[in-house]
Assembly symmetry: D2
Homo-oligomer: 334 residues x 4
Amino acid sequence: MINIGIIGYGYWGPNLCRNFNLQQNAKLYAIAESKIERHKSIKDQFPSVKLYGSADEIINDNQVDAIVIATPVYSHFELAMKALKSGKHVMLEKPMTSNVKQAVKLIEVSENLGLVLMVDHTFLYTAAVQKIKEMIDSGVIGNLKYFDSTRINLGLFQSDVNVLWDLAPHDISIILHLLKERPFSVNATGISHLNNGIEDLAYLTLNYNNNMIAHFNCSWTSPVKVRQILVGGDKKMILYNDIEPTEKLKVYDTSYAVSNDEEKFKFLIDYRQGDILIPKISNHEALFMVAKDFVASIVDSQRPLSDSHLGFEVVKILEAAEKSIKNNGKEIKL
Amino acid sequence: MINIGIIGYGYWGPNLCRNFNLQQNAKLYAIAESKIERHKSIKDQFPSVKLYGSADEIINDNQVDAIVIATPVYSHFELAMKALKSGKHVMLEKPMTSNVKQAVKLIEVSENLGLVLMVDHTFLYTAAVQKIKEMIDSGVIGNLKYFDSTRINLGLFQSDVNVLWDLAPHDISIILHLLKERPFSVNATGISHLNNGIEDLAYLTLNYNNNMIAHFNCSWTSPVKVRQILVGGDKKMILYNDIEPTEKLKVYDTSYAVSNDEEKFKFLIDYRQGDILIPKISNHEALFMVAKDFVASIVDSQRPLSDSHLGFEVVKILEAAEKSIKNNGKEIKL
Amino acid sequence: MINIGIIGYGYWGPNLCRNFNLQQNAKLYAIAESKIERHKSIKDQFPSVKLYGSADEIINDNQVDAIVIATPVYSHFELAMKALKSGKHVMLEKPMTSNVKQAVKLIEVSENLGLVLMVDHTFLYTAAVQKIKEMIDSGVIGNLKYFDSTRINLGLFQSDVNVLWDLAPHDISIILHLLKERPFSVNATGISHLNNGIEDLAYLTLNYNNNMIAHFNCSWTSPVKVRQILVGGDKKMILYNDIEPTEKLKVYDTSYAVSNDEEKFKFLIDYRQGDILIPKISNHEALFMVAKDFVASIVDSQRPLSDSHLGFEVVKILEAAEKSIKNNGKEIKL
Amino acid sequence: MINIGIIGYGYWGPNLCRNFNLQQNAKLYAIAESKIERHKSIKDQFPSVKLYGSADEIINDNQVDAIVIATPVYSHFELAMKALKSGKHVMLEKPMTSNVKQAVKLIEVSENLGLVLMVDHTFLYTAAVQKIKEMIDSGVIGNLKYFDSTRINLGLFQSDVNVLWDLAPHDISIILHLLKERPFSVNATGISHLNNGIEDLAYLTLNYNNNMIAHFNCSWTSPVKVRQILVGGDKKMILYNDIEPTEKLKVYDTSYAVSNDEEKFKFLIDYRQGDILIPKISNHEALFMVAKDFVASIVDSQRPLSDSHLGFEVVKILEAAEKSIKNNGKEIKL
């Protein structure tokens, strides 16, 4: 039985607690929350769980085997490093760290100590993403030509990280998971309407070698909520609308085939638009599967699906994107 | 009575003919179409109109007062120049010309000769854009913070111009019409899946000085058709969905107000989400109003709404966008 | 070559003219329109067609082989009878006649004289209805359990017939076409908000013997336009949304299976919700196929798909429905 | 402090417990649940609440002031009667009872004993219904002309009551709440696909005197989930789509005005279609307000909004509807 300690009981913390509480091989053992006014609610919900006022206490508790860190990004590195050094497995909320250097160090330490280091990229565990992955791997989608994501709404303006650090990790982790190929560079543009250097609206392009492009439109300042990804293959294309309660995926039997004409600069293109399929996907809660994977990785000494290397790659792209924005959209090599 | 001659009876030509035919102060006098197989259909539709096999014949016809050019972009400059030099007023389909230099020359010649030179940016004449313009001008939207357009579908791949030259003129002409301010630079990225240097999918950012940004997502390779613009003001925001048959505009009483906190890096933001209004807009055909404006500009010697200077600005942005794509997304000053 | 004469150039007339004009084995020969103010527009559109001011002239024209009647319902019987008696094939707009007696007489006369008598139930010729028919006939839908139609909008209030006579013929003709079984009775309720005895909102139930029911919700007084039919089979169910431009049909792999439990009044029901398919359907214009069927029926002496017997059955149901409304919803046997 | 006892911890019970637990002037004191396998989960959720295995125990507990009955309909009468007779205030889940007679008796007893008797018609407490009520009462909607509800999905087939008893109470309670006028009769049709006399699909019309009609389309056998009500006034019309997460109400500035023409049977109708408004409505949980109203009614000896008389009227209509179905749609006077 793995004893889990969770640091941070803010927005996401209650969901983490609930889902770790449901695991077979683990137990929600302790929660650390520095805001004392939240303690009563924690006690009501989890009367038998140990309750601490500081992260250090939970890190120093010898009964705790693994620590889940659900605090603001800037604190991830220090807390995770302490936790690893005290011999504890660690799961970090996304994004993994504030920069690439921190991510590299955490990976190094975790691997030297033989500890699991995981990042909670929840979307990898959704039935929708799993179905897309399955369709790509089986070849029915064909070669990927583009990935186009829109993730916008009237969202909480963060005061420490820009909108890409806040929203794009979802989509970047998905594209990294779906495709073996990696982008060689990024371009990004954006604007900080508050003039505080923290963009609330930003556009990111990932450039790939293999005739593929990815684009991300992220905003905290949209009147409508959109959570939509287009995955374009040369055989089929997928529309993933995460707001739809039941019909999240639409698979379009749409494509075009190109045959070079003899005339220079002339292309003959055959368009095809066939049936549309809305596959049935399961209703499991993704976060339950995240928690399960973390526990299984500890028990069976295996790599989680959303491991530290994927987390590191997400941070690498975010860091480059921010650099591109600050350099007026200049291409930044990865 | 102004005698109108139309060059090119392809995709858009029939619509132009029909709408000029309905004008009070003008008469559809002649059509030039080089593809002889289209002549029978033209005769059936417009039995009393003069029918020519070449553009030159119509340009040289002394009865023709004004010429509408609905041919591929690469031919615009030469045809328009000839028409102006033979003393005829000219309306060009969008985009005006293949490059800035050509646009400048046409403007020069038309102004020297005192002839009307207009570009058919049809969207400026739609009830939806007129309503948005009216709301911005009246101040109810507040200061514009962003303009975000998505114009994607499984479209015909053009063999001479990329997807931005094909689709973005609509949206660029709209933003130029709505706002007095002009962008100072552009960034663009894109991909040519056919590897022929003609992008079928591209992303364009316009950078403004006044805390404003515009972005355009254009694609010929989407399984779904989207024609959507978000116009974000600091008082209200508008969603313009051109595919909706009747509810094209949604005006969101959504905004946030920022008050600087005393703590450094801390911002207090008040979010507001109120009612949504779907204003009734008229059903007039925009192209009828385009034709009417062209005729009125000739008759009354006035500038049309969609004049050559706006057409030139669109071309300037497109040219810069293409340069940015070819330079890996580098910022191009305007 | 069949010479077609069309009586009535109101709302639907221009569409009929255009589609008969496109037929190979027929020619749009004459149009009769009593409103003289419409004659100029007819001449502009169809300069070579004979133009009459009265129905009688067209009926007495010996060159006319077949007559299409697109006038108000109350005039159908008299005009059709005259046309048949002068030896002409007849196509009537829906509904066929004002009552059952008239329909019976027309059928009798047409059959005695060996003339084609057809009713323009256009929906039978749409790709959507043909696809549904094909799916039902092939067995993939299973046995039909219900048919539920909603056809509402802010429509023109008719002054001679109620909303069922105006809108329900579409849906009734579809269900009659899809299913061999016939309803044995009807119930209907409705209201005349103008208090003139002509219902602008009405609800119709068709009762079937074979564990099947059909229901129709018709209104001229809805703020939203809905054109939707649910076809429930015991294997699959279809949602037919006629307003959708491209995704008109959604086929749900949804069903339940019942196994009688041993306990009295206890049923074990297995629910199943699988994939959803949006089949690609063709884009042909249904009215072109209507015209083609009329012409082919004359040329080849065959029954059209939408023949007089189907037209009669529609009228029979409408007559019974009106009787039920006037009798407070009482069941009326067919 | 009012001690609340809840009988039945099935589908709805947990929601009731949670919401009573949040009340200021009441305390969730005891739960009775006969299925012992559910007890562990209750203890986990509500460790300090008394847990009983039978309804009688909770009814006989002197510490309990008020009882909430969330059991199948057939058991409502007996349990409520016992509870009232033991001096306890009672809230019943909808529908109140299995028939009118039972409802009358419960009302009689509760009034004789001076006890609160309430029915949980939750929808009366939603922000959407409150907003509609407010718009009707303020006169902006004008006189109501129709009420048209569709409440369909692939729902659980009940084994004791038909689909109207299961789903229509929501819509019937809403129309009774919105309008002072009462229907004078009902017509209903339906079908039992299981042939067990329990309709899984049914249509109900309520007939009113004042130029108004209401219709309800209820089904357990639809592949799509629809929860939609059209409220038609002679000034404005409302579309209430309960599935929409944020835009539940759309208010259409749509109407027609009738002016009698001098000619008999001729009506001049002016149609008007103006703006559409989507009013902002609050996000409060309706069931919290239900619980609050029950507690306040006890504490302040006042009638709850959703009182026993409204509950009785719902049952009266359902009983008449069932009679109408069994009599082939015959009008049943209320």
